[in-house]
């Protein structure tokens, strides 16, 4: 049961001696928005059930409606956790050697980008718009000396802090 309470933040493809410094995902607001829509849809269906239950014919059809209702909630539950899975598996991992970006776009669509700390030339943070300032999320752009010239990490929470962590690790590494 320790997998639910303790983790060293190990990941697929971790190198020997590589230590995970920070694991971050997109800002939680990008998870909450689709989940709120699903929750709202569920609430509307419940309100609809409450409304139709006042009709005389409901008594006769209530068993079939209860079945349809449970089926709808089962679909909404799965849809909600689909979003949670996509959100959870899209990660940025900062280690003492590199930055790894995991992009999970579907069940069988997984992209991994990585950037060695020694290749980092410049990091800039972009926080655009009042909502982004209010919720403290933004984009990080990393200029690299590697084969890929620029890396973009979008909609991350506290981008300034993440930038500082990367810079600290780069200084330690060099």
């Amino acid at each position: 049961m320790s997998i639910f309470t303790f983790s060293k933040n190990t990941f697929e493809g971790q190198l020997p001696g590589e230590e995970t410094i920070l694991v971050t995902r997109k800002h939680w607001i990008f998870l909450v928005l689709p989940l709120f829509l699903i929750f709202f849809l569920g609430a509307m269906i419940l309100a609809f059930t409450f409304w139709i239950s006042s009709f005389s014919w409901y008594e006769r059809f209530s068993p079939i409606w209860q079945f349809i209702l449970s089926l709808i909630f089962l679909i909404l539950w799965n849809l909600g956790f689909w979003w949670i899975m996509i959100y959870s598996l899209n990660t940025i991992i900062i280690t003492n050697k590199r930055i790894i970006e995991n992009k999970q776009l579907g069940l069988f669509k997984h992209i991994v980008n990585e950037l060695q700390l020694k290749d980092i030339q410049d990091i800039s943070v972009k926080i655009i718009g009042p909502f982004a300032h209010l919720m403290n999320y933004g984009d990080i752009e990393v200029q690299s000396a590697g084969t890929v010239a620029k890396f973009f990490f979008n909609q991350l929470p506290w981008p300034e802090k993440i930038k500082n962590v990367i810079m600290e690790q780069k200084i330690k590494e060099s």
Binding site: S7, R60, Q66, F67, W77, L89, Q104, L107
Partner: protein
């Protein structure tokens, strides 16, 4: 008879797709999730899916088709 066989085949196909989908989500969250949160989410999803699936089957079995289809 044929209708019953076809409906049973359809039920097995839908059930297989649903079970595979549920397994895929739990597997991805546990196997590829970094940290404890994805593992906890997988547990919540699994328990919730089991409860909702059981409820769906129970409600389906409670339907009296004769009562609904035959006009009174």
């Amino acid at each position: 008879m044929i209708q019953k066989i076809l409906s049973n085949i359809l039920f097995v196909i839908i059930l297989s797709i649903y079970l595979w989908y549920t397994f895929a989500i739990v597997y991805h969250l546990i196997r590829f999730g970094v940290g404890t949160k994805p593992k906890r989410m997988a547990l919540i999803f699994f328990v919730g899916s089991f409860i909702l699936f059981s409820a769906t089957v129970i409600f389906y079995l409670k339907i009296n088709w004769q009562d609904i289809l035959i006009a009174k």
